[in-house]
Symmetry: C2
Subunit: 353 residues, 2 copies
């Protein structure tokens, strides 16, 4: 297959006009050509943090439902999907792993475990009953299905978790934490360089204890950002773009099952969530994920920062995969052909996988 | 007078060895010479925010006391001193202006009015009774003695204050404010580019309302910093150095009358202040200025940031004067000879005025 007359956007090589040739799922030829492009071709989007979609919740999804979920977001340009659990019983997490492992869809990548090794003080919309310190026997057998574990650096057993993660090729993302600047600094020095839905569910920034926000400003952390204009003000997004730079931002949706559906009452891993005007909250009024579609996060980020398309390809694809040590996020010979074709207004024309 | 064999530190030309020749208070010759310098020569320090020293309080100082105060800090390298008032009655402020205007010492520059046009919610150690919105008749006649007015952008009459300040060659510094990001953005667009003892007595940083801290990160504000390791953590200082850069930082002491004296009970413009271990607090436990000496601020900043001497000369002298539209802060032909000679550990050897 040859995709002709397109503006190719690569996170390293930048933006240029040309054609891309694909064979058996691999990019085999990228040709620069002077012409008027009809569309924009970007690396397929990566959503490493999402709890549900279209009535499907990660904690209760059947294998078929994981596939339906994947098909929904594939149409919107997502090429790598990481369904995300919340703190729950070992038994239920085991079931999620089982159902996920039996699902097949080319964009289903790995699970992201958000918890249960997090802080009760910063539980957000998670069930405190299941929050705990780390020990190996509290986790079900992951069988290579989990790539990310969100954990608080101050929890009991964190250092053991770091070792466990390294041994199992898992990336730890710091989050739902009441940890201080020093906790985050220390975690960074242990090789942990990622923060979950920054800076939601974290200690606030204060000039006598600069906290995780200060740590992200001083050290080279990757940060997940929910660009729905609800969790973060557009000015905050602009600030992250300016201070951290596009090299360190990873767009996520943190979407729940209500995404793509009408306002109403939904479930998030057993907790009831009320969605009003697209904003999801628990009974206590705490934000409970989003109803954000990935493509809207992309548009919102572009609007808040006025970034280049090259930078957009970093925050939507390349950075996430690089952080996870996965191959992709490039438009270059030899890379997997997971791509998204967009019009000039960043509407998805088609997803190529 | 010729000062020989010194490391000359200029905020623009940088650091180099040479001699400096002074005639009638003016630098007439700066010669570069290859040699081993005995001392470091920097532009004299500027303290644009200080309430007192050695038992002397700005609000009650006689003319002679202003001179004694100046002589105390001159010995520590300060060349430009801006005694600072706090919110008080028009009558008392009038008296301060009178006493200040009758004092003579070469480093006494202007007064800094900290209030009374500030926020009651962010009064800090100021007396709320005297806090109010701006109107011209609430101020005593300034008679060209006041260079800085700290005011909150959300107070009533702020736009009139901006006009009044422009007409009277006064610089407004935003502070003691509960204003939002948009209030600060709007003030910046009106030409106000300075923030008082940042970010003390300001709204905190939050990702859905990034406030004055966000504004300082996004716009080119000058910020006053109290580098006493009490008001600000050294990591915060490092962060400011990294994000704002040395071009936008102005070191201040915010020192009170207890500075240079023992722990005990002191007065700050009529309020009682308890000093324990050098930390000054009101009865309610609110920080009430500092007991910081300027030279210690200089050393603390150097330690927190590991900045160059050139950068140190920016934050201790050049930036403050540039922001106020005053000539100085350079070691260069034609500039006033207000200089400080330091040893390699930044101890003051002598102040040259």
């Amino acid at each position: 297959m040859i995709i002709e007359k397109i503006l190719i956007v690569d996170p390293i090589d930048g933006e240029y006009c040309g054609d891309v040739e694909i064979e058996e799922g691999i990019i085999v030829n990228v040709r620069k050509k002077e012409n008027f492009p009809r569309y924009v071709l970007m690396p397929g989007f990566v959503d490493p943090h999402t709890h549900g979609r279209a009535g499907i919740d990660c904690m209760s999804a059947s294998s078929v439902e994981f596939e339906i979920w994947a098909e929904h977001v594939r149409k919107e340009g997502v090429s790598f999907l990481f369904p995300t659990t919340i703190s729950s019983s070992k038994k239920l997490l085991e079931k999620v792993i089982y159902n996920f492992s039996k699902a097949y869809h080319p964009i289903l990548s790995f699970l992201h475990f958000e918890g249960p090794f997090i802080s009760k003080e910063k539980a957000g919309a998670q069930n405190k009953q299941y929050i705990m310190g780390f020990s190996k026997n509290k986790l079900p057998h992951l069988k290579n299905n989990v790539k990310i574990i969100t954990a608080a650096p101050e929890v009991k057993g964190f250092e053991k978790l770091v070792k466990f993660a390294k041994d199992n090729n898992i990336i730890i993302s710091l989050g739902h934490s009441n940890g201080t600047f020093k906790d985050f600094k220390s975690a960074f020095e242990q090789g942990i360089d990622r923060i979950t839905h920054f800076p939601n569910a974290l200690r606030t920034f204060y000039h006598r204890e600069i906290g995780p926000i200060g740590a992200a400003f001083l050290y080279k952390f990757y940060v997940e950002l929910i660009i729905d204009n609800v969790h973060l003000s557009p000015y905050f997004v602009k600030l992250m773009y300016k201070i951290l730079g596009p090299e360190r931002i990873i767009l996520i949706t943190d979407s729940i099952s209500a995404t793509g559906l009408k306002d109403g009452i939904y479930e998030l891993g057993g907790l009831l969530v009320k969605v009003e005007n697209g904003i999801a909250k628990t009974e206590e009024g705490i934000l409970a994920g989003s109803t954000l579609r990935y493509i809207d996060a992309v548009k919102n980020f572009k609007k808040a920062t006025n970034c280049s398309l090259k930078e957009l390809s970093m925050v939507t694809s390349y950075n996430a995969l690089k952080n996870l040590g996965m191959r992709g996020g490039r438009i270059k010979e030899g890379y997997p052909a997971k791509l998204v074709l967009l019009d000039e207004n960043l509407n998805v024309v088609s997803t190529i996988i």
